[in-house]
């Protein structure tokens, strides 16, 4: 029912844009609040629809997938959650998909954060992953299958110090259990005992710092999930081979869900983003057409005078 209503309203909105174009050409442009309203509905209504957008898998995401499937069961994966709630719409879906994959394939997750809210986001991602009954069947005991070391201030210096000893930066996990008493962390001293690092980053400190120190200095293998804003800065590291793969923004998250076979929120969000972009593009076109037509009219009027 909601699906049908949303589809009909979106169609009507699309048709009404022709009227907006007509008004704009006539020299009566709609005010900015109307534009906001269009964007708002353009983003909101697709969330109610059941449609799945077509989504080819890009090489950036495929490369990350190709790498993580080579990790044997029992591999230790350092998962750095370097983001906060405002970046969650893009990064949380990819984090949930990754955690699901890790539990299903018995990858041991060592979670940490260079952002104060990161470890909290990690707990939410784990809770969301375990809501899936298919994931909850697999072992997921805290301290054995995963551990949350919490946040540590110091930005890139934390990574640098972890290069010699993790325990120096994270003497206890978030439950205040000493590092040496955690079963998962036995024999984990520094990056040389880590099979893979997955960073979900929204800015500084984030992927760039992990590449500079974790990869180039300590030769760790790094995969990255970034917000779209951040992705353009990280792409050069992908082409140079400094990171094994990249999930860029919402589309990266949706592709990752698809390649893992997990239907998560990013796939639904991507549809909303597509309609949102279409609305923005429609207004860009309306604005430009009106500019050209009105410009020509003004020129004609000046010529007649």
């Amino acid at each position: 029912m909601l699906n049908t209503i949303a589809t009909v309203i979106l169609l009507l909105m699309g048709l009404s844009l022709i009227y907006v174009l007509y008004l704009t050409i006539k020299g009566r442009p709609v005010e900015r609040r109307i534009v906001f309203l269009y964007i708002g509905f353009g983003v909101m209504l697709p969330l109610l629809m059941k449609m799945t957008p077509p989504l080819p898998i890009t090489s950036d995401v495929q490369r990350l997938y190709d790498h993580i499937i080579t990790l044997p069961p029992g591999s230790k994966v350092l998962c750095a959650f370097d983001y906060d709630p405002p970046s969650a719409p893009e990064l949380h879906p990819m984090a949930v998909a990754f955690v699901k994959y890790a539990f299903k394939h018995n990858l041991k997750l060592i979670i940490m954060g260079l952002w104060p809210q990161g470890p909290q986001q990690a707990n939410m991602a784990i809770a969301a992953a375990l809501e899936d009954p298919a994931v909850a069947l697999f072992p997921h005991e805290q301290g054995v299958d995963w551990v949350n070391l919490g946040f540590q201030s110091g930005n890139e210096f934390v990574i640098l110090s972890m290069g010699s000893e993790f325990k120096r930066m994270f003497p206890r996990d978030t439950r205040l259990i000493p590092y040496d008493s955690i079963a998962l962390l036995k024999n984990v001293v520094n990056f040389s005992n880590i099979d893979f690092i997955m960073n979900f980053g929204a800015g500084y400190p984030g992927t760039k710092e992990w590449v500079q120190i974790g990869v180039d200095r300590f030769k760790a293998k790094l995969g990255a999930g970034n917000t779209a804003v951040q992705a353009t800065e990280v792409y050069p590291y992908l082409s140079s081979g400094q990171i094994v793969g990249l999930l860029g923004g919402m589309s990266g998250a949706a592709e990752f869900e698809k390649v893992l076979g997990e239907k998560g929120k990013a796939t639904t969000f991507l549809l909303a983003q597509m309609f949102g972009h279409a609305t923005v593009m429609a207004f860009v076109i309306i604005g430009n057409v009106a500019f050209l037509v009105l410009g020509r009219k003004k020129k004609d009027a000046a010529g007649n005078n």
């Binding site: 983003v43 719409p89 890139e156 180039d216 200095r217 779209a228 140079s240 400094q242 919402m250």
Partner: protein, 213 residues
């Protein structure tokens, strides 16, 4: 309790959206709440994770205390001297330590990561070949575009020679490469901002109104 939290979140979200109509006192109040709550959250997290979990449990109450943590604690306390005008100059010492350490770290790491490794990845064979030795035309084209982009981009930023003739033409091509880069960056930024709105809409329609799963 969770219901109260969701309702608070929904009301605050709608109050922030009210700015789109026009600036109003409700928006201002929510803005102040957001800043206050964020500052409070940061203070608690820093206190718990750094001062209590790392310093207090690691250096003060531990059986084998790590004395080196006192050095960091003293530097941290020295920052507070800014609050006392007569000795505020002391705060420059920890600041100097941070600036010096950061500069030292970046001098090598930043250069290696963003200069040497990036240059090395640019210097590849223009003609890329597949595993069977056949020419990979798509990859070769990509390498050629990178080569032209790097050279013409550098030409644009070379100001010791007037941008005229063939050199000026190359610089113009460089501008086009820069514009395409900025355009892509802007497009990604729009995509990210749209995601923020989607996240809030999902919260309102899903968590609050229960219309979507």
């Amino acid at each position: 309790m969770e219901t109260v939290g969701i309702w608070c979140g929904a009301i605050l979200t709608l109050a922030i959206f009210s700015f789109l109509y026009k600036d109003n006192p409700v928006y201002k109040a929510c803005e102040a709440i957001f800043i206050g709550v964020s500052a409070g959250y940061y203070a608690i997290v820093y206190f718990f994770d750094s001062i209590y979990k790392k310093f207090w449990l690691g250096a003060v109450t531990a059986d084998q205390p790590e004395e080196w943590l006192f050095g960091g604690a003293i530097l941290g306390v020295l920052f507070l001297t800014r609050l006392f005008p007569k000795i505020s100059w002391v705060a420059r010492w920890p600041l100097a330590f941070i600036v010096g350490a950061t500069a030292g770290l970046y001098m090598v790491n930043y250069f290696v990561t963003n200069a040497m490794n990036q240059v090395a990845s640019t210097i590849t064979d223009v003609i890329a070949r597949g595993d069977a030795g056949d020419i990979n035309w798509i990859q070769s084209f990509g390498t050629l575009v990178i080569l032209v982009g790097v050279i013409t981009g550098l030409m644009y930023f070379f100001f010791s020679k007037e941008h005229k003739g063939a050199f000026g033409g190359g610089a113009k091509v460089g501008i086009w490469f820069l514009m395409v880069t900025f355009g892509a960056s802007f497009g990604y930024t729009v995509m990210s901002r749209m995601s923020l709105l989607i996240g809030r809409m999902d919260f309102l329609l899903g968590d609050w109104l229960g219309l979507i799963n």
